[in-house]
Subunit: 141 residues, 2 copies
């Protein structure tokens, strides 16, 4: 956890109007250094001995989601995956790619997805998300 990341974590807590506590800083730093959406269990594992209680992690994630600083990326295999709300606009989250060979899910931050129209048959569309499936670079060979 670099000083820069610690600073980023502090800023995010301030944005979310949440008290600066050790567990929250740890959870945020763990989220920030992950390159794909992670579960509570992965966060706990990554933090090792320093990890807060499981319940605290869940509650922290929930609070960060409510504040809009973190996203529930999706629920896969009965488990929520979380990620910082980086690279998500108000109307669109970045696309997620899941490899059908190795199962790994990645965020395709740099992929442009065309926006759908904002209304359709009486439905008012606020946000869109795209999920992609296929082979990742490793498994394509």
């Amino acid at each position: 956890m670099s000083p820069a990341q610690e600073q980023a974590a502090r800023t995010l807590l301030e944005t979310a109007s949440l008290r600066r506590t050790r567990p929250r800083l740890l959870v945020l730093q763990s989220l920030l250094q992950a390159s794909y959406p992670v579960t509570q269990e992965q966060i706990a594992e990554q933090l090792g001995d320093k990890s807060p209680n499981k319940v605290t992690i869940y509650r922290t994630l929930e609070a960060l989601c409510t504040a809009g600083v973190v996203h529930k990326a999706f629920l896969q295999d009965r488990t929520w995956h979380f990620e910082p709300a980086h690279n998500c606009s108000e109307h669109q989250c970045h696309p997620h790619f899941t490899c059908i060979a190795c199962g790994q899910t990645t965020c395709l931050m740099d992929m442009q997805v065309p926006a759908v129209k904002s209304t359709h048959n009486g439905y008012t569309i606020h946000r869109q998300r795209m999920q992609l499936e296929g082979l990742c670079p490793n498994c394509s060979c």
Copy 2:
């Protein structure tokens, strides 16, 4: 359950190379007459007294998914939602719309979603899904 739907259910079982059993016909008919992705619990409720055992429903759904006749639409609130694989092409599933007011999810069968390119930075993309969020016609007023 109309005779037409029963016939459709039989055809789907044949496609899936699965034995024609009472529980499977019931589950399929229930799926076919739903207008949105449904859970095991909703299927059981809809079938009432005639409903097969919970485990049988799960196993039937799993088998139908493996055969490609049914899709797991998504996992929401720790619960899988299933739907017939109607209106899904090989490369793209129809979009799902979830209302942020009433929580109801609907399939937008008639909505055109542009296909993304089939490769991106080494990723080979086989299938895409779109999830939409906003207000449904009822809640828009």
